[in-house]
Amino acid sequence: MSTPRDNDAWIADLRAPGPRKDAAIIDLLAWLQKRLFFYLRDRSDLRSRHDEELQALSADFAQESVIIILEKLDQFQGRSKFTTWAAKIAVHQALGELRRARWRDISLQAATRDGAFEPDFLRREDVMSPEGGAIQQEAMSVVMDVMQNELSQRQSRALYARLVLGEPSSILAAELGVSHNALYKLIHDARKRLKARLLERGLSPEEILSSFQ
């Protein structure tokens, strides 16, 4: 970076009109792109990509991130270094894009998949053997019962899509027509309900987990 800046200098430069702002944007772009490239090159799912391709990808991500950073500049409260805050936004942007792209590939491969909740997705008999036992049996029945009879269809679908399919939450939220926060709450409520029903029967998830060993 041409001139090291502290937080105040970053904000002042990015708010300044004309060449001062342009210079700060160029420095921020370069700073982010270098780090995104480093990160992308290290990702196991991108190992097969050439450096040029990853350079272009990190340049795109940096560009998109800087637009968002400039839009959010007023929200920077100075609790961290400006570059840490900017990197956080860039990582969120880049990883969100990668998750959506990966999901598009998966959806194409499995064109018949419809994200509908499969009530049988835990398949008792498979899970039960060989280390089954009474606790596992009972806990599984409670979970299946709550999923089929107590959770709303949306809750079951959301839990299934996230846990089993690994669908990105941004895509799932859009499909359900809810905000990301509302989706989190939907699944959180479902988890709390499942946990409460298990605890009512004297079954703690920790105990059930330890009965595997």
Binding site: T84, A87, I106, Q109, L163, V164, L165, S169, K192
Partner: protein, 93 residues
């Protein structure tokens, strides 16, 4: 290969270990479930502070326990946290 693809292939083939893993995953999620949890946006609001504490050698889990709890239960925020930590460590090396 993406994890989700593996999941789906295993699912359609009905591999016992897959269902077994799903059941464990669900139990782990329930074990980590708290009455009050941060949403992703609340956790992300604090993520930069959290990572700077880690970089400074502090223990963010005692200073920002709600964020630590969110990172354990939310794979997307955990992935972003790990990436952020990794790229910021570039400046230390």
């Amino acid at each position: 290969m993406p994890i989700a693809t593996n999941d789906m292939n295993a699912f359609s083939k009905g591999q016992p270990s897959h269902h077994h893993n799903l059941w464990r995953k669900l139990l782990r999620m329930l074990s980590l479930t708290r009455e009050r949890e941060l949403t992703c946006s609340e956790a992300q609001e604090l993520m930069d502070s959290y990572v700077e504490l880690e970089l400074a050698g502090e223990n963010p889990q005692t200073i920002l326990p709600e964020v630590a709890q969110h990172l354990r239960i939310c794979p997307e925020c955990r992935e972003e946290h790990d990436a952020l930590l990794k790229i910021l460590k570039m400046d230390e090396g």
